[in-house]
């Protein structure tokens, strides 16, 4: 019984951890470069930091590909006030999410 509970918990942790909820900026940058997009490294790095610090104050991080590229601006805008985001911070988070999603 104890082994079954431990095995079930281990499976849950492995399945959660196998998904990268905040992929590294470098990976997003390379993906963007391959697709011919202009990348502001500093903005993407700031966006990632804000994403993992501010958003988890209220909820765990969503999987970025669960929502479309068109969905994300509306989602971020709906929560910007609650997260005390300045306009530049909101733009940085959105840029990071779009770039991270592009590599999926």
């Amino acid at each position: 019984m104890k082994l079954s509970i431990f095995a079930a918990l281990a499976c849950i942790l492995v399945s959660c951890q196998s998904i990268n909820y905040a992929p590294a900026v470098e990976t997003s940058q390379r993906t963007g470069a391959q697709k011919g997009q202009h990348i502001d490294w500093a903005t993407l790095r700031e966006g990632r930091i804000l994403f993992v610090h501010r958003c988890i104050e209220c909820h765990t991080l969503p999987v970025v590909w669960h929502y479309t590229t068109d969905d994300w601006p509306k989602l971020v805008d709906s929560m910007s006030a609650r997260a005390s985001l300045k306009p530049t911070e909101r733009d940085a988070i959105l840029a990071y999410i779009i770039a991270a999603r592009a590599q999926m």
Partner: protein
Amino acid sequence: MEPGEPRSGGFLTAGAIRRSPFLVLMLSILPALSSFAGVRHFTFLYEAPTSAPGSFESEDWVTWQRTTDPARSSEIAFRHEIEIGVTDKFQVSIYLADWFYTSDQDHSGFKYSDSALEFIYNLTNPVIDPIGLSIYQEYKGGDRVFEWESKVIAQKNFGPLVLAYNATLEAVWEGKNLGEREGEFQQAIGVSYEISPRFSVGAELLHEFVLPKWSDEEEIRNLFIGPNVSYRRANWFVTVTALAQATDSADEPDLQVRTIFGIGL
């Protein structure tokens, strides 16, 4: 704060409370309807992330405790917290007034307990770092009581799953000339799973080592465990935890339920 322990400074009678308990409960949460708050997944544990800089948050705590050994008593404790985000990694909280209503065979009534100041500094992030860490310090002072509490907060997020661990060392000076001393070491573990963007469920466990006069001769150990649930919507949240005592310690609550209401500005 020990349940049923007599304190001075009462200002409300039991009669008034019996006549309008609902009114008193509503008054206790009204201050929460005016400020911003980050969501809590737990009520007996702290989480590693700190509030955004420049944010002002308000949270109201209501803790009900029932004790039956050695005598039957109940207590409802209230805390009103204002949380201020100073930097991306540092927050300060002010507990304006901690007060409680206690009821036992000998007496009942409301009493002021203390006010407190709390500091939390975030070191690492629970998502992108191997483990999220924060350090916590609280100073609490009241009528013939002074408490100093230090805490290490650890947290790791696995997607929708949040695991948290707090290690706490508390020192209490109370009584005449603050001559009575007591220490306590506590470990707390919490797990919370986000079922939906608005709803989380989980469990919390507290393990206490009570050290009267900083001595472990009596080997007082308390273990509490129970479920929690958290709901958040728009700019507010409510989290409830119910803990049952798993040990057989006298003068400790058999059951305690804590509710934290938080709201954003």
